[in-house]
Symmetry: none
């Protein structure tokens, strides 16, 4: 549903929606057993919920597309992830809880190694440790160019965040990262006329930073990419009339929620921690986005058994969530991260929604195979929000 239509039809109501996102939830069969992570896991609580729920599989962006975390979550929040794109620099800022101000231009930075002719020989500076990163970042602090402040923050290993703060800046600046070795860093250039001045400032910052890093080999240079300003999108409050909270332990997911106007709430790495936070704030919000990370981390690491354990650990926290008795309770993922692929994938994502007005189906377990029999079939993730609102009686009739 288009946001304009959503804005027209959404109404306030005395109902609660909980969206539990188990990151990277979808999987693929283990080659030895033929069973996926969800099939292998002992999940009595999720399975019971599946029997009471309307089930299916979601397509995060489009068939065949492997989404990053940004598009995967935005779709679940009801924002078309092809129309609403968030730049790398902004995601990096969200990931360290850096509070981007209107007008700030953020970029992702890499320390790298250049030889004495200025040729990049290692784009990741030998993956220096985070401690060294923090020390080098300290050397880059306080650089000002033409009255524009340059804020630098360490992220992890060779990665850091750069934020240009001042009047009239633009994100229309090309990456200085050539994305390969054996060539010099690219000069900072504008990708549109309005980026000319900012590109000049970036060039001067890089020049000064290079001077300060000169004797720091292997981290004797830096590369910047993903120049971006924080987008200003219609909030879920404006569009869907929801007082929404983001309950996430990792900053990037709190940040993704904040991008669409959700209020961040504290959480912990375990689903129990998140559920406790939801319970504590139950009366204050209509919509809770609850993020659980462990499934994705294990999947990315290619650790099938650990992903199974992460699923089982989440399953044990499900009764506490069900006990809150939200009007709409959704359990799904932002994308698949099959352990056998050690990374995100395009495969449709397990989904279930328990709600008083949901139609029943024949789905009796929460896994990729059983959910195929779900009444929702395989459907776009961007439809999840309108379905949630409808089942929470928060959408009025369209047309006379």
């Amino acid at each position: 549903m288009d946001l304009e239509l959503a804005r027209e039809l959404s109404v306030e109501a005395d109902s609660k929606i909980v969206l539990l996102v188990m990151d990277g939830l979808g999987g693929l069969p283990h080659p030895e057993t033929g069973r996926t992570e969800l099939e292998a896991a002992y999940t009595p609580n999720l399975d019971r919920l599946a029997r009471e729920s309307m089930c299916g599989l979601t397509v995060p962006v489009a068939p065949g597309i492997t989404p990053g975390s940004g598009p995967g979550h935005l779709a679940l929040f009801g924002y078309d992830p092809v129309r609403f794109q968030v730049g790398r620099g902004v995601l990096e800022a969200l990931g360290i809880d850096f509070d981007l101000q209107p007008g700030d231009v953020a970029a992702r930075g890499n320390f790298c190694t250049v030889d004495d002719r200025g040729i990049v020989t290692d784009r990741r500076a030998g993956r220096i440790d985070s401690e060294r990163c923090a020390r080098l970042v300290a050397k880059l602090q306080g650089i000002q160019v033409d009255g524009v402040q340059v804020l630098v923050e360490p992220v992890r290993e060779h990665r850091f965040l750069v934020v240009f703060r001042g009047q009239g800046l633009s994100d229309r600046v090309a990456d200085t990262d050539p994305q390969r070795e054996g060539v010099p860093p690219l000069p900072a250039t504008a990708t549109a006329p309005e980026g000319e001045r900012t590109a000049g400032l970036v060039a001067r910052f890089v020049e000064e930073a290079a001077r300060r890093l000169r004797d720091e080999a292997p981290a004797n240079m830096l590369l910047l990419r993903g120049f971006a300003v924080r987008p200003h999108w219609p909030t879920v409050q404006e569009v869907f009339r929801l007082r929404a909270a983001a309950v996430a332990y990792y900053p990037m997911y709190r940040g993704l929620g904040k991008l669409v106007g959700m209020h961040p709430l504290p959480s912990g790495p375990r689903l129990e921690d998140a559920v406790a936070s939801v319970r504590e704030h139950w009366e204050r919000y209509d919509y809770f986005f609850v993020h659980y990370k462990a499934t994705d981390t294990a999947g990315e690491d290619g650790d099938f058994d650990r992903k199974v354990e992460a699923i089982e650990a989440a399953d044990r926290a499900i009764p506490a969530l069900v006990e809150l008795d939200p009007d709409v309770l959704i359990v799904t993922g932002d994308h698949s991260t099959p352990a056998v692929m050690s990374g995100h994938s395009w495969h449709p994502v397990p989904f279930m929604m328990r709600a008083r007005w949901a139609r029943a189906d024949e789905c009796d377990a929460f896994n990729e195979v059983a959910l195929q029999r779900g009444i929702l079939g395989t459907f776009p993730a961007v439809d999840v929000m309108p379905l949630a609102l409808a089942h929470a009686r928060r959408l009025k009739k369209y047309g006379a």
Copy 2:
């Protein structure tokens, strides 16, 4: 997936995709047995492949729409068939392997019968035989109007191809075929200002042709329709980074492949011939479009048993195709041609894709009924290409 997004996400990879199109594959139950052509056929190899594949049914253009060969194939190649339209004149040229040059304007021609007042009494000139068609076409050769060459080629029975070749021509010319009898042929008129000059040339060609045909009743006049120039679309190489080959016995299908940048390879009427050609050129291409015509021909003829035989003949060639072990092997059709309807239809088309990263489903046979249990459900044919690319690991992640 939008072609712009595809262009952004597609990457080269060391993987092979084979798309087998069994033309007009989908069917309907025989009224006496209640079984479709695929259900009636003995297809052990296709059924085995279905057990190993991800299954479903495709919608070529949109629900309820009966596609011609052009849209049916373009959708499978990843080109939205509503946006990418190919004119009748161009399809006719492709059908006889006529090599349209940039700027050529092609039209489909019919010989027809007119009475002494110039009224069309038979739009198909009594369906004169192909030999007579060729003789009449010879009489029309060598006509030049205003320095523009008019090339005429026989097609079959009363049908021929006309190509106007010269500077500054336009396809904005209306049909001269009134599409009914009892009225005179329509004058050649422009449908937009840029078609004015070409419409004038067409009128003069028709005048001269009519003079030469005067004594050739029942083929004493001609009707033209479907003026079209060869479109210039982004190629599969540009958009999907595929070195692609079209393995088809009939020129129109090689031509449809050529329209999107596929290299034509020799084939024969049997699927064995096509598979041999694929094997011979295996190393040179990433993507093979393999066309098998016999299923459609039998369906169009309303010959249920012959369509069953055509399916069984194809089934016998499947092991040779499987033996090549492509990373992604797809078997589907461009549309349905139920023998009981003696023509193309709108019914969703059997589909299966075998690939290492494909999720399993409960589909155990390759026919319209069993495929309904497929994990892909009923889905747009235009999604076939992105799914194939994803499973061949040829799409990078979208968004950070």
